[in-house]
């Protein structure tokens, strides 16, 4: 216990000294987050200093082993670091699908060579990854995917199309589900890694109702992938994919629940003045009850997950509850803002966040898919 308190004090002092004040302000726009990669650009010297200070300690991935570029912290130390960052309002130094999704999958399923090749680049933000899962004909029924990878002896030959590939137009590499056995469904899928600069890869951004284009269509036309760039065995990709989806759900469920914002009602009253309508105030208060309860749930889930106590399907519950709550919060922000909130405005206008939030309960497995998983795997209901 004493050691933990020493670590807490040292961590707090280090954060105080190394996190610039500007990096303790709430994130309000796309420029406020750094995604790294070959073409990554810092929007300010403070953003760069903060990222470099954290990356030098391996604290972009505090709980990964030091051998792979991580911070080597224990679960309790990682929790303390998160708590101290939240207490100061520190921004995340690096946003990364490599950290949230691919890294955990490589740590579990990758070969030693793969871990040493890919993980340090993720930790240092040198390579930006995207995820090739959904296809036009394979959304909720993801295992129906058709993108083919043929074994050509010394390489895989990939042909097909992905959709809803987040930031594919900005990514350096892709982790991608491909069909290696057309005769099997789940059992005919493999997990490949390849460079987006490979000949035959092209992307096209999709314009959403929110006016932004965070997703792309991605096309593969005779793309050659070296044989060793497969994670897990051939036709075992579904196992890797399910594990990784759990991490994605965990991440999406935590959206909108970063540092600060412990009360929507207080936040709205400070920005817009006291509630004039008691019905709206009551709806916001009930939201805050659910939001604060869900924050406790997030903490509990994370603690249980790290201790190996979480039910394997629990991320589905987190994803379902977190995304539905986020949609509700944005509906209330729209209502509280009244006609002001109807302004189209820039990328950061509340109307645009409201529209974007509607995807939360669709991407990464719809709410209906999550409820089905809970019914089958946690409640053991028949035929689910």
């Amino acid at each position: 216990m004493a050691d933990e308190e020493i670590f807490r004090a040292e961590t707090r002092a280090w954060l105080e000294a190394n996190c610039p004040p500007a990096m303790r302000e709430p994130v309000t726009g796309l420029d406020d987050v750094y995604w790294g990669g070959r073409n990554g650009r810092f929007s300010s010297p403070e953003q760069q200093a903060w990222f470099e200070a954290m990356a030098a300690r391996g604290w972009t991935v505090p709980d990964w082993p030091k051998d792979y570029g991580g911070g080597g912290l224990s679960p309790s130390e990682t929790k303390i670091l998160r708590e101290e960052m939240a207490a100061l309002g520190c921004r995340s130094p690096l946003h990364s699908f490599g950290i949230w999704m691919l890294g955990p999958a490589l740590l579990k399923f990758g070969t030693e060579e793969q871990k040493r090749r890919y993980l340090p680049d993720i930790a240092q933000g040198r390579i930006r990854w995207c995820q090739g899962y959904s296809e036009p004909g394979a959304g909720s029924d993801l295992a129906g995917l058709q993108t083919r990878a043929e074994d050509k002896g010394d390489h895989w030959l990939v042909n097909g199309q992905k959709i809803w590939t987040s930031y594919a137009d900005k990514a350096d590499w892709i982790f991608c589900l491909v069909r290696t056995d057309p005769a099997q469904k789940q059992g005919g899928i493999s997990f490949l890694l390849f460079d987006m600069a490979s000949p035959g890869v092209s992307t096209r951004p999709i314009l959403l109702i929110s006016g932004s284009s965070p997703f792309c269509e991605t096309f593969f036309d005779d793309v050659k992938v070296p044989k060793e760039q497969i994670v897990g065995a051939v036709n075992q990709g579904w196992t890797v994919a399910k594990y990784l989806l759990g991490h994605e759900r965990e991440m999406i469920s935590a959206m909108g629940f970063g540092s600060g914002d412990p009360s929507l009602g207080r936040d709205l009253a400070e920005r817009l003045g006291a509630f004039a309508n008691p019905v709206l105030r009551a709806e916001v208060a009930l939201h805050d009850v659910d939001m604060l309860a869900f924050r406790a749930m997030s903490e509990k889930f994370l603690d249980e997950f790290k201790a190996g106590l979480a039910h394997p399907a629990q991320p589905s519950m987190m994803k379902y509850a977190g995304t539905e709550l986020n949609k509700r919060r944005l509906e209330l922000e729209m209502a509280a803002g009244g006609t002001d909130a109807l302004v189209w405005g820039d990328d950061n206008a509340v109307s645009r966040h409201w529209l974007r939030s509607k995807a939360n309960s669709i991407e990464g497995g719809t709410s209906e898919i999550q409820l089905g998983i809970i019914a089958k795997h946690i409640l053991n209901l028949p035929g689910a």
Binding site: S76, P262, S263, G265, R266, L268, A269, A274, F275, R281, A282, V284, A285, L286, D288, V289, D290, L292, A293, F294, A296, M297, E299, K300, F301, D303, E304, A307, L309, Q314, M317, Y320, A321, E368, Q370, L371, G372, I374, A375, I378, L379, N380, L381, P382, G383, A384
Partner: protein
């Protein structure tokens, strides 16, 4: 501290669960109800709580208790809720012990050992109106000789008709509605001028309407400080609220388990009704709500045990969320059982009745959502 039960806490759960399932299952509640039992619970069972070390869970070891916390009390309460066990645990072992914890050494020595052994039953006399509103205390305590004279009425005093000890919130100054001017008193059973009218509630438990007519107590009966009882009253009520939330998790959890069993057995249209997606999705939503309520309740209990200033907010969140989640569990329980869920013979209705009382006790979801708004200055 991690937000899940420690090994010792899991051991307590593994002890309390079978103890209650064996000694006080739903059948025990039915027996008391059908016999129109005057106490509403069994004194023998309460003594066994004492023998098992459960009645004194929050009592300091120096006074014969376990010296444990609200997390441990919540573990016991969840099992009480699961079995619908009638007992004075919540009012006595949780709320009254918290109140007496703020009293002087004499009062602590007078009451805590008896609670720990399961001899003493205590009740909380706060409510005066239809809905919980503790600032609205009007029952007057005027100085008289070296003590006080109490006049007024309390209602919804759970176990008040048989309690050996009443924790009474009285007004010693200021106007009704103000937090200032409230004082807590420890009033003994049989005090002259004190009468109790037992009322059978919807869940077959008994709460009393209590009349105070020139009830004289000496200065030693004051718990804490005169006029300044609000914060201790809040802590007492919050202990009760987090405890009631934990009990509701047991009520809701058992209702959900019964309902899931039913969905796996009942056939209509040649299929198990649990195969229907309409029911599966509602069941999964219910699971999600109960899990979140469990996290909020455990968090509130941990914060109370750590004397954290955020405990008050989280106690309100826990009571509101557990009330809503367990309400969903019992309502969906009755609906998914169909006609059989409406019968007295089947247990699911008993769970709905118990939830209704616990939801109201110490403030319902509306009361606590309002409190969340005020604590956040909006």
């Amino acid at each position: 501290m991690a937000l899940f039960l420690t090994e010792e806490q899991v051991m307590l759960k593994d002890m309390a669960g079978p103890f209650l399932a064996d000694q006080a299952p739903v059948k025990h509640l039915r027996q008391l109800r059908d016999a129109n039992d005057a106490a509403g619970f069994s004194r023998d069972l309460w003594r066994r709580f004492g023998e098992m070390g459960l009645a004194g869970v929050l009592v300091p070891e120096a006074q014969g208790g376990g010296g444990l916390g609200h997390v441990e009390a919540g573990i016991v309460l969840e099992e009480i809720g699961r079995n619908l066990s009638p007992s004075p645990f919540l009012s006595t072992a949780v709320a009254a012990v918290t109140a007496i914890g703020g009293a002087d050494a004499e009062l602590r020595a007078r009451w805590l050992p008896g609670i720990a052994t399961g001899e003493t039953v205590a009740a909380i006399a706060v409510d005066e109106g239809r809905r919980h509103d503790p600032a609205n205390v009007a029952l007057a305590a005027e100085r008289s000789g070296n003590g006080f004279r109490l006049n007024g009425a309390k209602r919804f005093v759970v176990h008040g008709h048989v309690a050996d000890l009443l924790i009474v919130a009285a007004r010693t100054s200021s106007d009704v509605g103000e937090m200032r001017g409230i004082t807590l008193f420890a009033v003994e059973k049989g005090a002259a001028g004190l009468t109790a009218d037992p009322v059978r509630m919807v869940d077959s438990s008994i709460a009393a309407e209590m009349l105070f007519e020139d009830v004289e107590v000496d200065a030693g009966a004051v718990i804490g400080t005169v006029d300044d009882g609000w914060s201790l009253l809040t802590r007492t009520l919050d202990a009760g609220r987090v405890g009631a939330a934990a009990e509701m998790l047991g009520v809701g959890g058992a209702a959900m388990a019964m309902t899931m069993d039913y969905l796996r057995q009942r056939k209509q249209f040649g299929r198990l009704i649990g195969e229907f997606q309409a029911l599966q999705h509602r069941a999964a939503h219910l699971y999600s709500e109960l899990e979140i309520a469990r996290a909020a309740t455990l968090k509130a209990a941990q914060l109370m045990d750590a004397d954290d200033p955020k405990a008050e907010l989280m106690a309100a969140v826990a009571k509101a969320k557990a009330g809503k989640a367990a309400m969903l569990a019992v309502q969906e329980g009755v609906q998914m059982h169909g006609g059989i869920g409406m019968t007295d013979e089947y247990d699911i209705g008993l769970y709905m009745k118990r939830h209704r009382l616990l939801d109201e006790l110490f403030g319902d979801t509306a009361f606590h959502a309002e409190r969340v708004a005020r604590l956040n200055n909006y």
